[in-house]
């Protein structure tokens, strides 16, 4: 066991994967010599060579496309898109090719590619370095979408993603790369070393994709979230001294709908929290699934807390961010007596 932040945990996952499987390759902009702008691939090229850890041209469409071709020829590419905000030139290759190859060829071909990309805001990144476009990928059949919220899960999920026979979009909430974030930017940053999930095994382990994690067991209200917002929501519930049942879904495709259903049927109240824009966000799918399965158990309308339906504004980042106050208001509304 070691204390690791998310960057070190992800680095450790790739280190292990490169070491145990000669078909694993890492590619992306600045990932090689420099080790990535967030340092996630630091040291890997030096250790495994420039044929296995490749610096690429700045061409996200090309990065995704050559990863598909590499996977068809037996490699397991782990591609980095420097910020998920830059992924759109590769969207056609993801949607029309990567996601559908197995289906369209009736299983004759598949491309088990992992695409890692930092997502989310709270780092003064403005609208081009803060996006949370997970719903754009969740809506595409044939790709898994994973969003870890802590170092332990990040490493185990990335190893599971690399070993998955199907493609994975692996979104890394960059605000919590170095430590958990509870929603108040004026408070001193906390390191992962003070959090139990900053304790990470040094060796190989997997966290299965498609299984949610119960962050906190409670009986008054269910909070369904993922990524950075898991921590913010936890802090908001604590501030209100609510006995919340908090679920970190960890992967939105496939989704552990059973864990969510069990929780909401038990508490009868539900708040969904994500950082992405709210309209047609993944919370809409969650709310629909929950009302289908839990309608007769609900004591209050399901609440969704998300980013506003605007681009991420640089100067008004903390007004935009769905922080503890907005979550607390939503929690208070669902807790109102029938």
């Amino acid at each position: 066991m070691s204390q690791m932040n998310m960057i070190q945990a992800l680095n450790s996952a790739m280190d292990i994967a490169l070491g145990r499987d000669p078909t694993v390759v890492v590619l992306g902009e600045d990932v090689g010599y420099f080790g990535g702008v967030f340092r996630v691939t630091d040291g890997l090229q030096g250790k495994y060579g420039e044929h296995r850890v490749l610096d690429t041209p700045i061409a996200e469409g090309g990065i995704v496309a050559v990863s598909i071709g590499m996977a068809v020829n037996g490699l397991k590419p782990v591609a980095e898109i420097q910020f998920v905000d830059y992924i759109y030139p590769g969207y056609d290759q993801i949607v029309s090719e990567l996601a559908r190859l197995r289906y369209r060829s009736a299983g004759a071909f598949s491309a088990p590619v992992v695409i890692r990309a930092p997502c989310g805001g709270g780092i003064r990144g403005g609208q081009t370095h803060s996006q949370s476009p997970e719903a754009l990928f969740a809506h595409v059949c044939g790709i898994q979408v994973v969003i870890p919220s802590n170092p332990y899960d990040a490493k185990g999920l990335l190893l599971a993603a690399i070993e998955s026979p199907d493609p994975v979009i692996f979104l890394e909430p960059k605000r919590i790369y170095n430590g958990p974030f509870y929603g108040d930017p004026t408070q001193a940053a906390q390191p992962w070393s003070r959090h139990p999930l900053g304790e990470v095994p040094d060796g190989h382990y997997e966290v299965p994709i498609g299984v949610a994690r119960r962050v906190r067991e409670g009986n008054e209200v269910s909070i369904i979230s993922y990524g950075t917002m898991v921590h913010v929501a936890e802090a908001a519930a604590e501030a209100l001294q609510l006995d919340a049942d908090i679920i970190d879904v960890r992967s939105i495709v496939p989704l552990d709908v059973e864990a969510i259903t069990e929780s909401v049927q038990r508490t009868g109240r539900c708040v969904i929290v994500h950082e992405a824009t709210r309209f047609a966000g993944f919370g809409a799918e969650l709310a629909a699934l929950i009302q289908e399965r839990c309608f007769w158990y609900l004591k209050a309308p399901i609440e969704r807390v998300g980013g506003f339906d605007t681009p991420y504004p640089h100067a008004f980042e903390w007004e935009y961010f769905p922080g503890p106050q907005r979550i607390q208001h939503a929690l208070k509304r669902v807790m109102e007596p029938e």
Binding site: T56, V66, G69, V72, D92, R104, G210
Partner: protein, 413 residues
């Protein structure tokens, strides 16, 4: 003196009602273009991007340094495969008109760009075609009946009813699944080739796109990656002059050849007579040898003509001169190879007529067999449950749930 900017809109040389005009197609004499060594420096390959590599002359002789000196029996096999491709195409358009299949795409006039290239490559080189290189399937041993079952979406459909007709795949023949989205296969082929180099394999990759789709970003990205990593890949632009109704000038072919884009990325560009079986064969061999020796990618423009409509949903008489196919200066690839073999004394009109009848019978027999496995709306049918398979290797719980609900609600099952 011009004092204003202006927008230049390329115009097709001839539209319906006008005489065809192919004066824009720059030709070289057969045998006139020099052949540098396949390991030549980029600068020594420069003329190849603008001239036109041709081997067969007007007297049907193979001439010049690009003559690949292919044995007569190999040429006969090439002729047979091109002819089979054409007869297969003809028959499939007929059955489409009869309503037996929903859609078809012919390769008439372009058979050499697939067949000659496919034959010049090794059998385990990996191919990423577009939708108009069915000749590759035949080169790589696909059975007509299997292709037809795909066209029919019947019980033996390799795609299990999921793909439009002609979007075949052929894992055993090392041919990738064909996409309906244009140009996506070009950078994928580069990735495949990069992996081959990383793994130390002797195999190379080859891909085909149309000149129209060379305008896509995928083309640019393919060339950037192929150039940067010197990937062992052959990138082929099939310039058949027409992208549905849009002529090649609108794709950027007016000022420079498509081959000339290669050198800008550090890749040799070869402009090749795509209707000359021997020229396509020789240029492919040259590029394959270059790739296998570690000198990287080659961009090849195959100058040809799309004799048929874009697809069975297209009527080319609405946008181009009806006499164009006859006026096309590079002739017909099958006729030219046939005449060459006759000039060699290795073929005759009588043999050709016999072969045509044999292949027609082969196509007819395959069609009967294919129909016995059903058609889109008649005969034995695929199990619709197949639509739920292969989204992922194992279906996720919610897809299992959807399948169960569908089974309950359709009743009887």
């Amino acid at each position: 003196m011009v004092t204003r900017s202006r927008l230049h809109v390329p115009h097709a040389p001839a539209r319906p009602g006008q005489p065809p005009d192919f004066s824009y197609v720059r030709l070289s004499e057969a045998g006139a273009v020099g052949r540098p060594d396949s390991t030549a420096a980029l600068s020594d390959c420069a003329p190849l991007a603008d001239e036109l590599i041709r081997v067969l002359d007007d007297q049907h002789h193979a001439v010049g340094p690009w003559n690949p000196a292919v044995e007569a029996h190999e040429l006969q096999l090439g002729l047979r495969t091109m002819l089979l491709t054409r007869l297969f195409d003809e028959r499939m358009v007929t059955v489409q008109r009869q309503g037996r299949i929903s859609f078809y795409i012919k390769s008439t006039g372009e058979e050499a760009v697939a067949v000659a290239a496919g034959m010049a490559l090794k059998n385990d080189d990996f191919l990423f075609p577009s939708y108009r290189q069915q000749g590759l399937q035949l080169v790589r041993g696909a059975k007509l009946v299997d292709l037809m079952c795909q066209l029919l979406s019947n019980t033996r459909d390799m795609c299990k009813g999921r793909q439009l007709p002609v979007l075949y795949h052929n894992a055993a023949g090392h041919i990738f699944s064909i996409s309906g989205n244009l140009a996506t296969q070009f950078p994928q082929a580069v990735g495949y080739a990069m992996a081959a180099a990383i793994r130390g394999e002797d195999r190379i990759a080859a891909s085909w796109i149309g000149e129209g789709s060379s305008a896509e970003a995928d083309f640019h990205q393919a060339l950037v990656f192929a150039g940067v990593y010197r990937a062992p890949v052959l990138l082929k632009v099939v310039n058949n002059q027409w992208a549905i109704s849009t002529f090649q000038g609108t794709a950027g072919g007016e000022q420079r050849s498509f081959a000339a884009r290669g050198p800008g990325y550090g890749i040799p560009g070869l402009r090749v007579d795509g209707n000359d079986f021997l020229a396509v064969y020789a240029a492919t061999q040259w590029a394959a040898e270059r790739a296998r020796r570690g000198y990287g990618a080659t961009l090849m423009e195959l100058v040809t003509y799309r004799v048929a409509g874009h697809s069975t949903s297209d009527d080319p008489s609405r946008y181009r001169s009806k006499d164009e196919p006859d006026a096309w200066p590079l002739g017909d690839p099958i006729e030219r190879l046939k005449q060459h073999l006759i000039a060699l004394g290795a073929w005759s009109e009588a043999q050709h007529a016999t072969l045509t009848r044999e292949l027609e019978a082969e196509v007819a027999a395959a069609w009967s067999e294919a129909l016995s496995f059903g058609a889109l709306n008649e005969g034995p049918q695929l199990d619709p449950q197949l639509m739920f398979e292969d989204v992922f290797k194992e279906p996720p719980p919610m897809l299992v749930e959807q399948r169960a609900q569908w089974l309950r609600e359709r009743g009887g099952s």
